[in-house]
Symmetry: C2
Subunit: 525 residues, 2 copies
């Protein structure tokens, strides 16, 4: 990915005239993009790695696999949250890890961790670099130096078990490469978060990622069968069976540990045959509450499609779910998308059952085209955000989840907090929302917020983020459904798990990472 | 439950002439039952609780809610594993907790734990008393006294959320009482393990229980939304949403913690409407391998029935799955049972899809009668075990789980280990097996083993248990799929989670139970 924005250069497009017109109309911004800096011109804080530390690490991974080059450091300077991207647009020196280390395998990861624990070097495990919660900030904690531990060389499939439907994957494999390797054997993982094109298997596990087909294939944590983890205290291999009653499930301590308790090097995952058939269907609901109740009815009946999502009135009105058509003629009411994948027989049976329930709950079938449009543009939103940031528009996303009975109240509270916090600064926002992950007992809520930038947009957003975090906790939502905690959600972790829960996590950390080198400043409040 | 056997007196029946004939034929036992002792005649080790300790605990729960009476102590002397029951048949003093304490609510549990931590009293949390792995043994550890903390008074539904399909239940509610209370609101939990009639909500959570309808409603751990836990270090309340990415999932540390890390006092669970319709169907498969592949195909297609189980040739031949007909004319090959529950539309759709797959995979539909017979007798097996133990036949069950590709190999290894270990003692066993819990990636294997008792049947079984535990580990199975670790599976926990995994668990325990009062001698190797 490029250093100061999402994705690859080919993905970056100027805003359409229609969107620029919309921005002028709503926010009064002119729509002229600022120039971005060339990466070579960006001053970096000098590397703090000592020659001895460098030599010690080179001994583990080889000279070719440690870099303190300007470009490598810059490309590992952090993740891709809006504050991250705004920070890169600020003049002056950028912070970055003091070196980037590229281990070859689990044993080298283990040796790097042992070296760093003994020699006072902080370690930020680095997968695809797509964190949107500050999970990759090069924080040194109480150490003088920090390295990024880039796992891209752990990029093989160790084993496919076609009978059991499992695959053992290196942590550094990206989403597309995983699908490519599995596809050659007739299998698919089916994990398609918005970060899919760049994020890694290890990162998905470390952050409890959830993909757009979660209704059908589950969250990433649901797919995890077995984990191999390197820690400064040694190796853990967890998960001997599809299910077990052998005490606490320790996998669930390391899934979601965000690089603070160990480095996930290998994950055995549930996979499925490449679908024989896919049925696309779009729907219109008169309003969000009716649509949410319809989604609920289909999930609670045990008839969930593979993809199941619902945009609210504002998101539908602006066509955000059909990125090629933003600002064009919207679908009436609230747009919902379903896809059903599997064998032809399964697709026929499940579609019939789901469609009958959605229709009975007030949905109007719109045919397959809007659903295909959604799928076509489903990884485009982060590029749009870059273009908006470039023309002086603040754009950020956030998400939560709650029980079905609390969905409408939580949505209203979050929208209200964003509107008040940004409106109170003279920049009334546009707040859009969708449901993209559903469960029998509840659903996620994903918000996109857009407002005119103030002179200090980072400070502007921080006011809103504090307000919305407090509002989510007060309204009974989780502080994050699939973005993870990172730096940005740390203040609310005690609200989520209690003070004793935080103490339990600290006790685990003291056991597996007694020196405290792993990803300082993340997760723990 | 009665002190020296399973269940209630009304459930105990003498063996039928047909079964007695079978036992004479296979094992050469006469079939005359031994007399059981009256509970009043059983000598108990004297209570070690000091008057001061007794007074301290009475101050918390009231004099009416602490008992050191002979009968109360005897009824809390342990669980219901075969070694437990054999031990009760041995003459001489029985061990038992020094008192039984009946707290009223979460705060009293917290206060009892605080008192015991300060005053050196071990605590065995006690639900329905159905452990079959030694999870309730009155072990004192490094303390002089141990109490059983009986949670039966935590027996209310705090909240039902009909929209979200959740219910908040007291830990002491039994299976039938839970269904009765939920049923009054039109809901059902759908958790039907063999211990259903006596076991408790808290026990289900503490042991990662899995019920006979797990294919449809999931394991108990899948149902858990929120937990309230009392520990000597304070209260934990975990689970703010149907799913979350807010770091490690700490619920999974306490689900399966078997009373060693805290006392679960309240559980919020996913529930579902009482099914509108149920379709019963029995099947015959030519052999176990074909049947297992058929179960696999239906689960991997996303078309799982609510109940899905398969008996092997031996279990089918003896009619163990149809308890009213044991020893009668068996169904040919291997018997499988399916039920599909839900709305009429869902039952029709899911049955059609599942039945087509099972038929295509070699199944012959046998109609609904054998499936109804199975359901009718599904809680009867533990009573049968008592009757067998009484006539000099050893009978025990054990279970494991593995990936689909390893099912046949694991089954052969376990059967071989049991056959060798008991045959080597001159008591060749009958080993029966079924699959009763299925997952997309694998299945459980549940074994029932019967042999002639030797003079010391406990020692006889210990030889077999050691051999089979080692065989399961060597063959890649989990040491327990739904019975938990307790005392009996402790030796193999390091095989399951590794030495570092055990250290992590110990670190958690040191934080929540620094004095080490909670359920000594269980779970931890």
């Amino acid at each position: 990915m490029v250093w100061d924005a999402w994705g690859i250069p080919a993905g970056h497009k100027p805003l359409s005239a229609r969107i620029r017109g919309l921005l002028t109309q709503v926010f009064g911004v002119s729509g002229d993009p600022v120039a971005r800096r060339d990466e070579g011109d960006v001053p970096l804080r000098e590397s703090a790695l000592t020659p001895a530390q460098r030599a010690g690490l080179v001994e583990v991974v080889g000279a070719d696999n440690l870099s303190a080059e300007h470009r490598d450091r810059l490309l590992h300077a952090g993740g891709k949250s809006t504050p991250d991207l705004l920070r890169r647009r600020v003049e002056g020196p950028q912070d970055a890890p003091d070196a980037v280390v590229f281990p070859a395998d689990h044993d080298q990861v283990l040796a790097v961790l042992a070296y760093c624990a003994e020699n006072a070097v902080a370690v930020v495990p680095f997968g695809g670099g797509t964190s949107v919660v500050g999970g990759l900030d090069p924080v040194r904690g109480r150490f003088d130096a920090v390295i990024a531990l880039d796992l891209r060389r752990l990029d093989t499939i160790t084993r496919i078990d076609p009978v059991s439907g499992t695959a053992t994957l290196g942590a550094g494999l990206t989403g597309p490469r995983t699908e490519e390797l599995l596809g050659a054997h007739g299998f698919s993982l089916g994990h398609f978060p918005q970060s899919f094109e760049f994020a890694s298997i290890g990162g998905f596990a470390a952050t409890r990622s959830s993909g757009q087909a979660s209704a059908g294939y589950g969250r990433f944590d649901d797919m995890v069968q077995r984990l191999k983890i390197a820690t400064p205290s040694g190796t853990l291999e967890l998960g001997r069976a599809p299910a077990s009653a052998a005490g606490p499930d320790l996998r669930e301590l390391f899934v979601g540990s965000e690089g603070t308790l160990g480095v996930i090097t290998e994950v055995t995952l549930r996979v499925h045959p490449v679908p024989e058939a896919v049925a696309y269907q779009a729907w219109s609901f008169p309003d969000f509450e009716t649509g949410a109740a319809a989604l609920r009815s289909v999930v609670q009946a045990g008839a969930a499609p593979t993809v199941l999502r619902l945009s609210d009135e504002v998101e539908t009105g602006i066509n955000l779910a059909r990125s090629g058509d933003i600002g064009g003629n919207p679908i009436a009411g609230c747009l919902a998308i379903t896809t059903v994948e599997g064998s032809a027989a399964h697709v026929a049976a499940r579609s019939a059952e789901a469609n009958a329930l959605l229709t009975a709950a007030g949905g109007t079938a719109l045919g397959q085209t809007p659903a295909e449009e959604w799928e076509h543009g489903r990884f485009a939103a982060p590029y749009l955000r870059d273009a908006l940031l470039d023309v002086g528009v603040l754009c950020e996303t956030l998400e939560t989840a709650t029980t079905w009975s609390n969905v409408m109240a939580l949505k209203a509270k979050v929208t209200g907090a964003l509107t008040d916090a940004l409106g109170g600064q003279g920049t009334p926002p546009l707040v859009m929302c969708h449901i993209s992950h559903t469960y029998p007992t509840g659903a996620s809520l994903y918000f996109t917020v857009i407002a005119k930038q103030l002179d200090d947009p980072i400070a502007q957003w921080q006011v809103a983020k504090r307000a919305v975090g407090d509002a989510i906790v007060a309204a009974g939502g989780t502080i994050t459904h699939h973005h993870a905690v990172g730096t940005d959600h740390r203040p609310w972790l005690p609200d989520e798990v209690g003070d004793l829960g935080v103490r339990v996590l600290r006790a685990v950390k003291a056991e597996v990472d007694p020196a405290g080198i792993l990803n300082p400043g993340k997760l723990f409040p």
